[in-house]
Amino acid sequence: MKKVKVIILRTAGTNCDRETAFAFESAGATTEFVHINDLTLRKEKKLQDYQILAVPGGFTYGDDIASGKILANELKFKLEEDLRQFIASGKLIIGICNGFQVLVKAGLLPNLSGDFQTIDATLTLNDSARFEDRWVFLESIDKCVWTKGIDGTIALPIAHGEGKFIPKDKKTLDILKKEGLIVFKYAKGPGKDGHHPYNPNGSVEDIAGICDKSGRIFGLMPHPERHLKASQHPSWTRRGQKGSEAPGDGFKIFKNGVDFVKKYL
């Protein structure tokens, strides 16, 4: 069996690294936590030694300046060449929550120019102007490598204060739609929404996650690693003990990534 190696990128303020690693391992990969200093400053690790780069959630550098901005700049200015190679060899990148903010602010998503030198969108303060943790429904729109076989709506939690996705302009939005880069939208659930809006942060056109043109780089605000098992859902007890250990809606995303590497890389 081919080993799929995932690099879980860490730095000051990364905090969803363990459960992201657990998610990839549950899907059959091996993972390694690597601090950004080991790639940039010390050069003891090489990005090319891995097939999947995962940028987990957290508050990198306290989200000072803007969420994810400092780590984004580190990627862009200190790892540019390594990233170029990594992407060119058809490898996979996923950014979750703060990781998504990092990828967008580094120009890696949606990367319309293809060389991540322009920033085409941003993620900014929620309309509610506060951090919120709650579950949302996501509608699968355009398919990417990571969402193969995910149809209809799935449930995942969000936990962020700066998740409002805004494309640079109308033209960018049109390209996102035309090129099929909008992977997930916040959606109305089957039941009542209570007193919360279904779109938790006011994202333009309810956009929750996007990919690049290759479909191999993917980022989303909700946390798939927090719904690996049915028992992580807030109302799992309504369905009973049986099946509480069955895969949750987020598992498939990690499985898709790992399976893709096994098959094509």
């Binding site: 860490r10 000051a12 303020g13 990364t14 905090n15 969803c16 363990r18 459960e19 657990f22 601090h35 200093n37 080991d38 010390r42 959630g57 957290g58 508050f59 550098y61 306290g62 506060r130 951090f131 919120e132 943790d133 709650r134 579950w135 939690p157 936990a159 039941g191 009542k192 929404d193 209570g194 007193h195 946390h223 690693e225 927090r226 690996l228 028992s231 992580q232 807030p234 109302s235 007890t237 309504r238 003990q241 509480s244 250990e245």
Partner: protein, 787 residues
């Protein structure tokens, strides 16, 4: 170098030194210092006096609890040892690994791991600067598990707040106090911004309101950590280097330990503003990540956190048995200009102190440097049992550890207890209680705290099994949270808390008994077992120099012993915060006597956990346990402006049997949902279950179905009395449930319906309550909706 002329000081001058230096020491204590230095034939230096004040502060030393108390004709020598700690000693549970010794209490989790739990208060700083005070409150308590044994990984936070009423008219605000609404918002944001950035889920808590918390809010922050078995103990060796790791030292948090040992006054902000520390959660996150790496590499012999008293307390405690030498100029500073005393007692945040074998120092420092964390050698541990400090090669302090730690004179206090009699309301029999129920659901102590809960990440780390909000639309009030610390294992921990700010006004004994019962009820409600539960005490009291306040404290402590002993739940850690009063001129507002009981219980199979939301139309609803005429201190009375006198009692022998029996029934799968009856009584518990499940209920209090053990009571008492040891249970398997509950009083109240309406009929079978669940939910959610 300043010497303080203490040898020749008379009593008046001694007290002036204590007051002006913000030492908060009593005359007896100042005299003890004077005597000690007289023997040495010299005056103390300023830093020596400060070191003693920090170490002897009420905050660090718990002098009241450990002192001598004269109460009702007998003498109690060390209240803590005779009550709270005695329970643990007598129960002698094999799974208690380390209790009342370290920075938090440690119990066994599984074959490979232990878990530890600590809850602290940060009341005084939060009164002056709510955001910063509360943020550093959670930041500080996270460092307790980090500094427990050889270091535990923080896995869950808890928070409990007590505020004045947010709608307090401004003309009623005491001079110099911050308005309760501003305190509340600041505290909530402070804990949010620190806890979220640390990546630790905040999964359990409570928020309470009472007028007497104006000017002196309570902010309890807790943290649970997990550490590998065998790492619970540590030992400093002679010659080990003293290394300070993490944040730099600044002029923030000077005199925190001593200031929080006094009362708050109108001048506190001006005089003691610098006591509040400045937090930086990302610094602490970096320290956490690297500390755990260094731990797993076995690079140090001991660790503790810099909390109250700063380096003074941290080094003083670590070197208590050995002795230590510190070179104060080596401590890294945020900016120049600190005096050597400030360096020594600053409570600047995010610092940990380690004892490192010189052979490991290079590797140790590298682990931290790799992730941009400063680690600086500032001295070494010795074997002469002295604490020696120097600054730029000038010796500034030389104190015997023995005097520092054991030299504090035992304080002697008088305590009296006299039961206060409150006015009893006259309750007229009403034909319709729908309005009363709706009003009660909107009471601040009962209403939904979703606006706070959602601001806290309660799912990070991926281990949450039962979240604080439950039910069909994820907004019902869960009784306790369940977390899996190890994602590949079904084993988990249950966290719950018991607190009541109204019962204590009537009798602190029954308040303490009730909150222990409450914390344990919540464990049972989610499918736990109280035989695997350990508890923590956090006493917050008024000024215990006043005999009546102290009398209440004695009574509450006695209840801790009496009740916990019978329930079989050991205390593993605790803390007290006394002097919670706000004084303006001659009037002083004391907080109501408040005891927070936090509970941690190991759960072997978290897939057996149950929640409180009603599950299915047609299922039967039972009440387990007996209701008494105990409306004293109830939310029902409070909503009418009364306190009353019939405070709920606890019969722990009966309670233990009841909880064990119910626990077995839940474990066998006979219970679909369970909710403990607490604030608002049976009626509120039933309503919460109904609207959390999106289902209606038909409840009948008919005299015909009432079991013989249940006394006949007025319907208002049945519905709103807050009697302890009661649960509402929904079952789909009635026959088995009844059989399994043999020997325990149960009463079938009715069933779950699909109608969406919530109905209660009274003892005379006439309709008492009729409302749509949407309306009840709206009443419950509205008070904090637009904050």
């Amino acid at each position: 170098l300043n010497h303080i002329n203490i040898m020749r000081a008379n009593d008046k001058e001694l007290m002036r030194l204590s007051k002006e230096g913000q030492l908060f020491l009593s005359l007896d204590e100042m005299r003890a210092i004077k005597d000690h230095f007289k023997k040495l034939g010299r005056n103390p230096t300023d830093i020596e006096l400060e070191t003693v004040a920090q170490t002897w502060s009420e905050h660090c030393k718990h002098k009241t609890f450990r002192g001598i108390i004269e109460y009702e004709g007998h003498t109690i020598d060390n209240l803590l040892k005779n009550t709270v700690m005695r329970v643990t000693k007598e129960l002698n549970k094999p799974w208690c690994v380390s209790v009342f010794k370290d920075n938090s209490g440690i119990i066994r989790f599984d074959e490979e791991n232990d878990v530890c739990f600590k809850v602290e208060t940060h009341n005084h700083p939060s009164a002056l600067e709510p955001y910063g005070g509360a943020g550093t409150g959670i930041g500080g308590v996270i460092r307790d598990p980090l500094g427990t044994g050889l270091g535990a990984k923080p896995i869950v936070n808890t928070d409990v707040f007590c505020f004045g009423r947010p709608d307090l008219p401004y003309n009623k605000l005491p001079k110099g106090a911050i308005h309760p609404k501003r305190i509340m918002k600041g505290v909530v944001s402070g804990v949010r911004d620190y806890g979220n950035r640390m990546g630790i889920p905040t999964s359990n808590g409570a928020v309470l309101f009472d007028d007497n918390f104006v000017g002196n809010p309570l902010v309890f922050c807790g943290n649970v950590g997990i550490l590998p078995k065998g790492m619970a103990f540590k030992e400093v060796h002679n010659g080990d280097l003293v290394v300070v790791v993490g944040g730099r030292t600044g002029r923030d948090g000077i005199h925190g330990a001593t200031f929080s040992s006094g009362e708050l006054t109108v001048e506190s902000e001006t005089v003691s503003g610098s006591c509040v520390q400045i937090g930086n959660p990302i610094q602490e996150k970096k320290v956490t990540d690297t500390l755990l790496k260094a731990r797993d590499l076995g690079l140090y012999n001991s660790v503790t956190d810099c909390g109250a008293g700063g380096l003074s307390s941290a080094v003083g405690e670590m070197g208590e048995e050995s002795g230590a030498e510190i070179y104060l100029e080596k401590v890294p500073l945020k900016y120049k200009g600190l005096s050597y005393t400030e360096i020594w007692i600053s409570e600047a945040q995010e610092r940990m102190v380690f004892a490192v074998d010189p052979a490991n120092i290079e590797q140790f420092k590298e682990v931290f440097e790799r992730e941009n964390v400063e680690a600086t050698v500032i001295g070494r541990f010795t074997d002469d049992a002295h604490l020696k400090l120097s600054y730029e090669s000038v010796p500034v302090c030389d104190i015997e550890m023995k005097f520092l730690h054991d030299g504090v004179p035992k304080i002697r206090r008088k305590a009296v207890w006299k039961k206060e009699t409150f006015k009893e309301p006259v309750i007229k029999a009403k034909k319709d209680l729908t309005g009363d129920l709706i009003k009660l659901l909107s009471e601040l102590n009962i209403a939904s705290k979703e606006w706070i809960i959602r601001q806290y990440d309660h799912e990070v780390q991926g281990g949450s099994v039962l979240k604080p909000l439950q039910g069909i639309t994820h907004d019902g009030p869960g009784d306790a949270c369940v977390t899996r610390p190890i994602l590949s294992s079904k084993k988990g921990i249950i966290l719950s808390c018991g607190i009541n700010v109204d019962f204590g006004k009537i009798d602190p004994y029954w308040m303490a008994a009730s909150v222990i019962d409450e914390a344990l009820r919540q464990v049972i409600s989610v499918g736990g077992d109280i035989n695997k539960a350990a508890i923590l005490d956090n006493f917050c009291w008024g000024n215990t120099n006043k005999p009546d306040r102290l009398g209440g404290l004695v009574r509450a402590s006695q209840a801790c012993y009496d009740i916990a002993k019978v329930y079989g739940t050991p205390f593993i850690s605790g803390k007290d915060s006394l002097n919670n009063e706000y004084s303006v001129g001659k009037t002083s507002i004391s907080i109501p006597p408040t005891l927070l009981i936090s509970c941690i219980a190991v759960m072997d199979d978290t897939t057996k956990a149950i929640t409180m939301d009603a599950k299915k139309s047609g299922n039967s609803i039972y009440i387990v346990g007996l209701t008494q005429d105990e409306l004293g201190g109830s939310q029902y009375y409070k909503s009418m402006g009364f306190t009353g006198n019939n405070v709920p009692k606890v019969d722990a022998h009966y309670g233990k049997h009841l909880m064990d029996t119910l626990s077995r029934a839940i474990n066998k799968g006979y219970v679909a949902s369970c909710h403990d009856c607490s604030d608002g009584g049976m009626a509120v518990a039933l309503a919460e279950m109904a609207f959390a499940g999106g289902l209606g209920m038909d409840i009948r209090l008919s005299a015909h179905t009432r079991p013989p053990e249940q006394k006949a009571l007025p319907d208002t008492a049945l519905l709103f009395s807050e009697s302890n040891t009661r649960f509402i249970v929904e079952t789909a398997d009635e026959t088995r449930f009844i059989a399994s509950m043999k020997g325990v009083p149960i009463w079938k109240l009715g069933h779950v319906s699909s109608s969406g309406s919530f109905k209660i009929s009274g003892s005379d079978n006439k309709q008492l309550v009729l409302a749509g669940i949407a309306k009840l939910k709206e009443a419950w959610q509205s008070p904090f909706k637009d904050i």
